[in-house]
């Protein structure tokens, strides 16, 4: 019994003593911190993905509170509305940024881009890329071992085993940019996100000449320039045998999609334009009169 009392007493006295010391130390070394940092951190998504360029949400919150001008700070995960709320809370002007989505610019499925060799090393795109061009004959295409899939913290990317390509779920994608850095072939681009996840983009990165592209892949861009000619908005540029659609300038008119001889321009969540444009029919009937 005596031992029990002694133990309880000793521990209690020790506890009180340490609490007093801790109290004075806390007073002495108190750091003045803006309480709004905590509030802003709570408003941020807390994914700590690094998509904003800071080490985590806490660092971002700190920057939002302490910096005068927050126009350059943007959390891609939270999106425009949350940024507006935070800016309103802090009494600053909100950064304006349109929503973005990761886009994988390769259309070389297993059917269109046949495998010409078999790889059995480490299942990692960066490793494959350090050895050679990959299992297909295209040096620019998707390797398909999913470095981007494992880099994504939001489960927005998945490997389609049938096509051998990675697919993006635009509803889950937060445009944090982790996959862009992970892809050794530089296939992934953050593009403007249209309503209903509509998109038009060139699903190819091959800078090879047309003949070389055709040999390796039936879905590649051959740099013929037909798309650039029909584009009314100067959104398409041809560089190094490769077409590129600027997602800021593109108005989703879809004329280029029908022009592309290889189907390298992908159209998502939209119907293509009718193959025979109706406007051509009108002058013909006039001639007949």
């Amino acid at each position: 019994m005596n031992t029990l009392v002694l133990t309880v007493l000793t521990l209690s006295v020790l506890g009180i003593l340490l609490a007093v010391i801790l109290y004075f130390v806390a007073q002495k070394f108190h750091v003045e911190e803006d309480p709004r940092i905590d509030d802003v951190e709570k408003m941020l998504p807390g994914a700590n993905c690094g998509g904003c360029g800071f080490a985590g949400c806490r660092a971002m919150a700190d920057a939002l509170v302490t910096r005068e001008n927050i126009a350059s700070l943007f959390c891609p995960v939270a999106g425009g509305q949350t940024m507006k709320n935070i800016a309103g809370f802090l009494g600053k002007t909100a950064p304006e940024k349109e929503p973005m989505v990761a886009t994988i610019r390769c259309g070389g499925t297993c059917q269109k881009r046949p495998k010409v060799n078999h790889y059995d090393g480490a299942m990692n795109c960066a490793v494959v890329n350090s050895f050679y061009v990959g299992e297909s004959a295209c040096a620019y295409g998707c390797i398909g071992y999913g470095d981007c899939v494992s880099a994504c913290k939001f489960g927005a990317l998945s490997l389609n085993t049938e096509t051998g390509l990675v697919e993006v779920n635009p509803d889950k994608c937060t445009a944090c940019g982790a996959c862009v850095k992970a892809c050794p072939k530089g296939l992934i681009e953050l593009r403007k996100k249209w309503p209903k996840n509509r998109a038009v983009y060139v699903a190819c990165r091959s800078k090879n000449r047309g003949a070389v592209v055709m040999k390796a892949c039936k879905a590649g861009c051959i740099g013929c320039g037909k798309c650039a000619k029909v584009c009314a908005f100067d959104a398409i540029t041809i560089d190094n045998n490769l077409a590129y659609i600027d997602s800021e300038k593109c108005k989703l008119c879809r004329k280029c999609v029908n022009e592309c001889p290889t189907g390298a321009i992908h159209l998502e969540n939209m119907d293509p334009l009718p193959k025979e444009p109706k406007v051509v029919a009108t002058p013909k009937s006039e001639v007949a009169k």
Partner: protein, 450 residues
């Protein structure tokens, strides 16, 4: 018998497949493709144009800097194209394509076969000749030889080490050179000794080549090559690694990068490179051909071919009855350090000492399972590293920690992957880590300069 102090493995050497095939000269190919990068350093710049007539031995690519090498035409004919073509790994490089017409050589090249031993040139003249001839290390690393021989101020070479180890399984090109062209090799060694101002040279040869050791000793005694000694080494892979060979022969340890062998007073050169040096200095012959071993258990026949650079692999394989049926692995080099080739229309380049063909079954990797922490990889690593850890760090992209654990010391010999009972692709990941850390170090150095 001497060998290096730590690590190493004993793979079956498989040299019996091609070691008794003497060096064969083959009909010249009708077309060659010459990549403008066949060395470590800056790519060469083409100095010919489409439609130009070139002679055998004529300069077609000018070295793009000090650490770079000249490239010469291996045949005579017309330049038909200068464009980008895929190499063995499918990567597109600038290549000069030449269609052959006859075999006319540049006049200054001495094509006689008699040995020319006297050399009265100064070291600077020798190095200049080697540089002009575009000689690079023929052991596989393709490091420009003139850079190696240009000893930095304040350092002094004490001895030359000649690498006749050829520890890579299957390959026999250095062995055939030692057996058939020993006089040229030894004269080349004398010239190299003169170029770096040393009196002593050690030739390291593994004891699985007793006839090469005996033959070299016989020629040295017969023709009085002074200061050159053949040292038999106990067979162990990777004895041909530069640092391992220095440790085996002299007991000296070269410090981690950026230290070079010269900091220990040693210059290392490959045995076949010595022949290229002899031809460059004494015969004015640029580096346009080398011995290439074509080997593999499943091949119709194995050979040691004297091959002009730019010859396509398909052409060489046609003498062995083409690629065997079914899945095969084609390697530029041997099974340990060779790089897999995906396109057999690719050309042979300066660093290609052999082509090894493995059948699908021979080449298949075992099924991967979890690391059991047996530390076998640690005990076989000849650099004293911890491969299981470096591999894991690279997988997790912890580049700074990998740097602390000296990942850049890795010589990529592959002992760790070879020995792993869980069949883990250790080296695959370590190489990524090494490349990334080296890039980080370089960008830091550039940032510090600014």
């Amino acid at each position: 018998m001497k060998t290096f102090p730590i690590g190493g493995i004993h793979p079956s050497d498989n040299k019996e497949w091609s070691k008794d095939k003497s060096i064969e000269c083959i009909d010249l190919p009708n077309e060659v493709m010459i990549p403008m990068i066949q060395h470590i350093g800056a790519p060469a710049t083409p100095v010919v144009q489409k439609g130009d007539k070139v002679l055998t031995g004529q300069l077609v690519g000018q070295a793009g800097g000090f650490v770079s090498a000249n490239i010469h035409s291996p045949i005579s004919g017309t330049v038909t194209s200068i464009d980008s073509y895929p190499n063995g790994q499918g990567q597109r490089l600038t290549m000069v394509v030449i269609k052959r017409e006859g075999d006319e050589w540049v006049e200054s090249i001495d094509r006689s076969t008699e040995l020319k031993r006297e050399c009265s040139l100064t070291p600077a003249e020798i190095i200049a000749k080697i540089k002009d001839a575009g000689v690079v290390g023929l052991g596989g690393a393709q490091f420009p030889t003139h850079v190696k021989l240009s000893i930095p101020d304040g350092q002094k070479a004490e001895m030359l080490i000649v690498n006749g180890v050829e520890c890579e399984p299957y390959l026999t090109s250095d062995y055939r050179n030692m057996m058939e062209r020993a006089e040229m090799m030894l004269t080349g060694i004398e010239i190299l000794m003169r170029a770096i101002g040393v009196e002593r040279a050690l030739i390291g040869v593994e004891n699985n080549k007793p006839d090469a050791i005996a033959h070299l000793n016989e020629v040295i005694a017969r023709d009085a090559y002074r200061g050159i000694e053949v040292v038999p080494l106990k067979m162990r892979y990777p004895q041909g690694g530069e640092k391992q060979l220095i440790a085996a022969l002299t007991g000296r340890q070269v410090a981690p990068p950026p230290a070079l062998p010269i900091s220990e007073g040693v210059v290392v050169s490959n045995a076949s490179t010595a022949i290229a040096v002899y031809e460059a200095v004494q015969k004015n012959k640029p580096l346009i051909e080398r011995v290439v071993t074509i080997t593999g258990k499943s091949l119709g026949s194995t050979h040691n071919f004297m091959t002009r650079f730019g010859t396509s692999l398909d052409y060489l394989l046609s003498f062995s009855g083409g690629l065997p049926e079914g899945d095969v692995k084609v390697l530029n080099g041997g099974p340990m350090m060779g790089r897999a080739i995906v396109d057999t229309s690719a050309p042979i380049i300066k660093g290609c000492s052999g082509i090894t063909i493995l059948s699908g079954a021979e080449a298949a990797r075992g099924k991967e399972s979890a690391c059991i922490k047996c530390a076998k990889c640690v005990s076989v690593c000849p650099m004293g590293l911890e491969p299981y850890l470096l591999s894991r760090l690279a997988k997790l992209q912890k580049w700074d920690v990998a740097e602390e654990h000296n990942t850049i010391d890795c010589i990529e010999c592959g002992c760790c992957s070879y020995t792993c009972p869980s069949n883990l692709p250790l080296l695959d990941y370590i190489r990524i880590g090494k490349q990334t850390v080296m890039a980080n170090i370089r960008s830091r150095a550039i940032a510090n300069k600014k």
